[in-house]
Amino acid sequence: MAFEALFKPIQIGSQTIRNRVVSTAHAEVYATDGGMTTERYVKYYEEKAKGGCGLCICGGSSIVSIDSPQGWWSSVNLSTDRIIPHFQNLADAVHKHGGKIMIQITHMGRRSRWDGHDWSTLVSPSGIREPVHRSTCKTIEVEEIHRIIYDFTQAARRAKEGGLDGVELSAVHQHLIDQFWSPRVNKRTDEWGGSFENRMRFGMEVLKAVRAEVGDDFVVGMRITGDEFHPDGLTHEDMKQIAAYYDATGMVDYFGVVGSGCDTHNTLANVIPNMSFPPEPFLHLASGIKEVVNVPVIHAQNIKDPNQAQRILEGGYVDLVGMTRAHIADPHLIAKIKMGQIDQIKQCVGANYCIDRQYQGLDVLCIQNAATSREYMGLPHIIEKSEGPKRKVVVVGGGPAGMEAARVCAERGHEVTLFEANEQIGGQITIASKAPQRDQIAGITRWYQLELNRLEVDQRLGTRADEATIQDLRPDVVILATGGQPFLTQVPEWGYDADTDKSLVVSTWDILEGRVAPGKNVLIFDTICEFSGVSAADYLADKGSRVEIVTDDIKPGAAVGGTTFPTYYRSLYEKEVIMTSDLALHKVYREGDSLVAVLENEYTGALEERVVDQVVVENGVRPDEALYYSLKERSRNKGQTDIEALYAIKPQPCLTDGGEGFALFRLGDCTAPRNTHAAIYDALRLCKDF
């Protein structure tokens, strides 16, 4: 049998796990009602269990005490008995499908925000500020230590009473337990700091108390780091010593191991490795821990592919693999392996849209899978065939919106024709994938391409659809997803001209697509501060250009998420790209062979100039509306999407109201530039009822 190692059950404490695949703890940001697990939450985990995941560890960083704030990021609150019945729903939903579910419990100490809800005073062993959350805190007192130890036991009791299968004590990502462990933040001289035993004490007391509370028939695991990657932090050897020390108690049922510390922007980026990282970059650290402990070891971090997982397990590096984002992108991953549909797995591309939202306190969503965590709204991962009439659907534009629309319509059983002006589908994803270390984003397109082929969608590549071609197909539904163009005409002084030879500025797309050769001295003006600007800078620097990237915003790349901008910065600084903020591009003019860019300080109005040979402007996308307006009048719905129906995930009334002509809809950037997720979400919710 293929994937034998993957499908070999394993015993963790009192529980048998049906396979070796774990969705490790992640903060979902779905526990809205004062930290209670909502219907959305339950359905999200039920889907993973239904899809075959062996063990779900839910509730990343769920809090045990009220001075570990959860309100700002809607994490699960185990500090009250009110949670117990909610857990029962959750446990039932997962158990029903043969899955197991545990929860990560923690006190985050200094690693949170205090400015909201109860306005808590954060606690930490030595009151040292945490930079990622800009959080200040007090030095914890012994009374508080004992209170929190007790809170841990009560949280564990609630998990057990709620029918969950276990708890994972978080001693990773710089929470309170590992704040005590790490000499970097624990400067205490009392019995809670200093020597190894003293630094271990808090975690040990928590472990003993929790075990005493829950007994032996309930799993208690521990998640630890394999190496903090700080010169003054815990090293791999330290961590081996710590793991062995706790393991010797016989009270820990498993260890989860994460590579890297997490309390600076730069280390944080390691923890949830984005697409610039190689596969399983920190496996060796988990393996190292496995050498010194006697219980199963779980490791997650860039394990995305079933073959990769099988190889890791077969090699005996660890006992279970976390495939966490892999499950966010496709909760049916295991089912698809078992069904022999590996090609149909939507593989996580490491865009980190999920985690980057989480760090802003926003609900976790997948860039490419709009159904994830929206199961409760009736958005399906597996689209059922329509029982209604078979429709002729024409989709124009093969970017994210168009690909998703074509896929969903085809899954519904309709006859779909997809037009794409380029020779390949993908739209802006294709452009984005040209930047260094961003090639994996094209995985989104790769999946759509396989699906569209499988679904036998008629794909007219290299074909620009016009009014006549569309009319000829006698469609019932026309979906426009034609995207747009770089918006370089907004400021006439920039000197943009459609003729590249005459134009004083070029777009980031021109650069990334290789339409314009890299200049020697390049100024990039990026007012958007998302991926395109920094990607173009990285691309040019990689090709040997001297690059300065300027923005009138806070900082170049400011809108790139928390786990992604650090890897851009690593690359840009290394290539000596100059990053300048607070300057707007006022004007560009030609002087001899050179271009002069006039920059204006946002705050003083002072002008300064740069003499360069290429000016690249990133000013977002201007929607392409021409085709829409040429079709609009002829359509039965005048191009209007009923947004009430759309937002309620209900069928569009115009499809059943009768009337003349085709129904016309617009999706994605051809309406207004938003992002990939928005485009895919709209396409899914619009088309799922066609």
Binding site: F3, R18, G52, D92, G340
Partner: protein
């Protein structure tokens, strides 16, 4: 003159026939001994002929009528000719009856002639082409010589002038007719089938397969056990003379009608097997000589005339060629389509497995993956070589009740080796959810279960089969259950039909075994399952050989589908004529190449019905049919279709939010892959 000549001719023909018969019997007696009740067997011939054999022949109405007219006419005419013309009993009444008999025979022979002009490819040519003419010669000759006796022509008409000449011609015609009918019958002509056929019916090695006056099911499809304790005995069949004498007799009964050939999936796929040719080769081997005179379709890709054999020479050469090539034997899927169709009740599959036994046990020569699979079975008790402790890995989340814990259960669920296959695990999960929905008291053997031995046995490895079977029987003997239910027709067949012989007084092995479709049907009839309305597309059903032809279960799966609201679109070849999926008999393991693949042909049968889905009831069929490239119909096991349609009544669940909610039917969500 004819008055004197006729008795001489008749009795010399009979005498020659008798000599031929003795020689023929000698040929058969070269085979190994096999004790049969001689008198009882002979007494059974009329019933076996008129009921059982006719049941098969009747499937082809044309030839059935033809045969009744010709054979009935001939038997009567021959008896009366001996009385009237041989013994000279001058009875006008008998003569009239004789005239009627020869007329019937003549009409029959015209029909035979018509069928053969031109003959369909499955029929052999050669001497068989002259048979209709011989039949005519006999019937016309006898008719004409009888006219005077009946008083239609004056007595003495053949005695003068022209009469003399006519008499001479007539005598020649009669000699021809008698020669074919009497002499040829025992000296190897086409009429041999009548002689050998009748005795084959009498001394058939599977008397259980014939009906008796009490009615009921008469089926004998289990392979017979090989006695392994006798160290000196040769294992399996190496030479023609290693067959039992009544097997040789059976081969000799073949009429070369080619019905087996027309049904054989391996032949149709262009693999080097033709069951008719194989039987003829056994005849060639028994008598000694080459296959050059064989006048039917050859083994695909193997011209005739290159093989020869003798009764005491090896059938399969270790090197070079003798009578049959090994790949011919390894092409067979043991689907029994040939046996099912054979009007002469010949047992091809027994013969093939007998010869395979020798190749595997004495030569150790099982082609392609064969040796590996057998090694795996020996080492791990499963063909894939998986860790035997991993048998229940797929079900870690199902909490299956174990026999070792429960000791007794209403149903012992036999899982089969499909537990190691992800596709089949889905079927098993589906069936388990059905059992749970019907609240059946069941348990599994878990890691105590071993491969049933089916594949080992069909690959000729009788030793491994018996070892597996005996250990399974031991295990089963420890528990109490009222029936065994399994989703695997191969396990089903072996447990039901082949274990019995290996039981002992302490551990009897006569179980009540059911295929899951039969059991589900019982649950449906008992009202223990409720279904949602069927919403899928059109459905056809593929009969697994080991469920249908081997065990006669054609109706239960169809009844279950009907209960789901599905109207089955039958394939042209369904029921007892179902075409094998190609997965039986270890054929996918020995993997003998042909021009096309058997499952492709089967999916083509499916495509012809226009069905969107083909329902199956066998892990092997599922695997074979799903291996066919898309686009093709979807493939689902009956258990999956049932599970998908289940409505499970659940009590209100225990959470506070749901406490007030009334019990509501919900679909069976447990059915996850």
């Amino acid at each position: 003159m004819l008055d004197t000549l006729l008795p001489i001719l008749l009795f010399s023909a009979l005498a020659l026939a008798a000599i031929g018969a003795v020689r023929r019997v000698r040929l058969w007696r070269q085979g190994r001994p096999s004790s049969v009740p001689v008198i009882k067997g002979l007494m059974q011939v009329p019933r076996r002929y008129l009921v059982d054999l006719h049941h098969v022949v009747e499937r082809d109405k044309y030839i059935s009528h033809t045969h009744v007219a010709t054979a009935g006419g001939f038997v009567l005419a021959a008896l009366l000719a001996i009385v009237v013309h041989g013994l000279g009993l001058d009875s006008a009444i008998l003569a009239w009856v004789l005239l009627a008999a020869t007329t019937s025979m003549f009409i029959g022979s015209l029909l035979v002639a018509k069928r053969r002009s031109p003959p369909p490819s499955r029929l052999s040519k050669g001497p068989w082409m002259r048979l209709p003419k011989s039949l005519m010669a006999f019937s016309i000759g006898m008719f004409v010589v009888t006219l005077p006796t009946a008083g239609i022509l004056p007595e003495g008409v053949f005695q003068s002038g022209v009469g003399w000449f006519a008499a001479l011609v007539l005598a020649a015609v009669i000699v021809w007719g008698l020669g074919e009918m009497f002499f040829g019958m025992t000296w190897g002509g086409p009429m041999k089938h009548a002689f050998a056929g009748a005795l084959h019916l009498a001394f058939h090695r599977r008397p259980e397969r014939f009906s008796d006056a009490t009615g009921g099911e008469h089926r004998s499809t289990g392979l017979k056990a090989l006695k392994l304790d006798d160290e000196s005995a040769k294992l399996g069949v190496e030479k023609p003379a290693d067959f039992t004498w009544n097997q040789l007799l059976g081969f000799d009964a073949c009429v070369q009608c080619g019905r087996c050939e027309a049904m054989c999936p391996a032949f149709a796929a262009g693999q080097p097997l033709n069951p008719k040719k194989l039987i003829q080769d056994m005849v060639v081997g028994m008598a000694g000589g080459s296959d050059a005179h064989y006048a039917g379709s050859p083994y695909p890709g193997k011209p005739v005339g290159e093989h020869k054999g003798d009764p005491h020479g090896p059938i399969v050469a270790r090197e070079g060629t003798t009578l049959v090539d090994a790949e011919t034997l390894w092409s067979c899927t043991t689907c029994r389509a040939c046996v099912e169709e054979c009007p002469m009740m010949i047992e091809h599959v027994d013969a093939i497995v007998d010869m395979r036994r020798f190749l595997t046990l004495e030569h150790g020569n099982t082609p392609n993956k064969g040796a590996e699979v057998l090694d795996n079975l020996i080492a791990t008790d499963n063909p894939g070589g998986f860790d035997p402790d991993s048998r229940l890995h797929w079900a870690a989340d199902l909490n299956l009740p174990l026999m070792s814990d429960k000791k007794e259960a209403e149903v012992l669920l036999w899982l089969g080796d499909g537990v190691f296959d992800m596709r089949n695990q889905r079927t098993l999960r589906a069936f388990i959810s059905v059992l749970r929905a019907a609240q059946v008291d069941f348990a599994v053997l878990g890691t105590e279960e071993r491969d049933s031995g089916d594949v080992a046995r069909r690959l000729g490895d009788e030793a491994t089969f018996q070892s597996l079977a005996r250990r399974n029987i031991q295990t089963l003997s420890r528990y109490r259950f009222s029936r065994i239910v399994t989703c695997d027709p191969h396990s089903f067949h072996v447990l039901k039909n082949e274990y019995g012989e290996l039981g002992t007084p302490q551990t009897p092995a006569d179980y009540h075994v059911q295929h899951h479709s039969t059991y589900i049907n019982e649950l449906v009839v008992a009202g223990r399952l409720t279904f949602k309305a069927w919403k899928g597309g059109s459905v056809t059903y593929h009969d697994p050989c080991y469920l249908g032809r081997y065990n006669g279960e054609y109706e239960a799966p169809r009844d279950v589908l009907r209960a789901l609201g599905i109207e089955v679109k039958e394939m042209a070849r369904s029921g007892y004529r179902s075409r094998c999926c190609g997965g039986g008999g270890g054929a996918p393991i020995t993997d003998i190449p042909g021009k096309q693949r058997i499952p492709d042909m089967r999916m083509e049968d499916v495509r012809e019905t226009g069905a969107d889905l083909v329902a199956v009831g066998c892990p092997q069929c599922t695997a074979m049919l799903e291996g066919v490239v898309e686009p093709r119909a979807a493939i689902k096991d009956i258990a999956e279709l049932v599970a998908d349609a289940l409505i499970i009544e659940t009590a209100a669940e225990k959470s506070p939010q749901r406490q007030e909610a009334p019990a509501t039917p919900r679909p069976a969500l447990e059915v996850t892959p």
